[in-house]
Symmetry: C2
């Protein structure tokens, strides 16, 4: 497996591939969640599995204010609020909506730079908040695994998405109310969508992953 | 693949196995749905896949009033009501509850006769209405794929079930209200449960099946 670092403008990223140029094969975009970065364990494990088991290329970037990028005041304020406790759900939604507005054109520039004609997208939680508007805007993305996010700020955009979607819900999510998560699944305007719900809290491992995602991308991208 | 017919008392059944005695390997019980029988296409396809891909034995029987068994007045009345149209949901629930009361001891007698120490159970709709009380009563069943049924008459029994459960919901089910199906998933007293929801009506193919069920039984029974 090849792993190489890249930068597009001031966006640092990693590209994994089995061999040859990434343009030769579908590229899976891995969008990390809040408090994570391009080499977070969940991102790395999926990148390695998608490349080794699926024969895909995979790419991850640091989102604004994360990983190797300069701190963003809004992100720092959110982290302080989470440390202080209390109901941070509405704060997270507002933060992620603002962050996504900047991250969507960044991901599109990365797709341009890496030159893949066909891509998949994987993102949970903050990665889903970025993914919904990105997938809606970007015709090169042909299938998406999304989840751990709710409909409040995303359902309207989700209702324009017609590509296959696999959507993950944690049944006991303390950050995303169950009804809100189910409403987001409900909103996607495709009949080729699957909901996978598992008991447990927002953070922590997703059962049956990354195998389920890899099979989904194989079904829809190859 | 071997296929042989059997009878236990007056219950006709079929046993599929790769080779050797069924007692050598986990046995998957396939319980057909309403209006079906032991060789309905969905039952046959799963039996063949579980045996060929999973190395399991598989067994199906005709439920009371179905297939090769004498007609039951209650089942005939339900069929007439369905043909006549209207809201048959409450009728189906009552019918299935009564049918399950008879079918549970039948399935246990079949397990005795076939001699498998470890079994899995697969049943949707009426098959789920039989499966919930059967799985709750029968310690030889170690994992169950259930679905297309609601919580009204089943949630209380489901709350005693602690084995791994994979639960299927059709998101646009016209016979089982979505909230009722989700309430039944919610009720199972195990953390090892997964909800798979797919768009579409009550009847018709379940996407990703039978592969998903086969992987589930392989994870939990072998």
């Amino acid at each position: 497996m090849h792993e190489r670092s890249f930068t597009v403008g001031d966006i640092p990223g990693i590209l994994w591939s089995p061999a040859g140029e990434p343009g030769d094969r579908p590229l899976i975009l891995l969008c990390h969640g809040g408090g994570q970065h391009k080499k977070a364990p969940g991102v790395l494990a999926r990148a390695h599995h998608f490349v080794a088991a699926g024969g895909f290329a995979a790419a991850a970037i640091d989102l604004p204010g994360c990983g190797d990028r300069p701190a963003e005041p809004a992100t720092e304020r959110l982290r302080e609020a989470i440390r202080a406790g209390g109901d941070v759900g509405p704060l997270i939604i507002r933060h992620n909506t603002e962050l996504a507005a900047g991250a969507v054109p960044e991901w599109r520039a990365v797709l341009d730079a890496l030159g893949a004609p066909v891509a998949g997208f994987w993102g949970m939680s903050m990665g889903c908040a970025v993914g919904v508007p990105l997938v809606a805007a970007e015709p090169r993305i042909k299938a998406a695994v999304l989840g751990l996010a709710g409909g409040e700020s995303l359902a309207e955009t989700a209702a324009t998405i017609k590509i296959p979607v696999e959507f993950v819900v944690k049944w006991d999510d303390e950050l995303v109310p169950r009804e809100s998560a189910l409403a987001l699944f409900d909103a996607f305007a495709t009949d080729d969508k699957t909901l996978h719900a598992y008991p447990g809290p927002h953070n922590g491992q997703i059962p049956e992953e990354p195998e389920t995602s890899a099979r989904f991308f194989t079904r829809h991208l190859t």
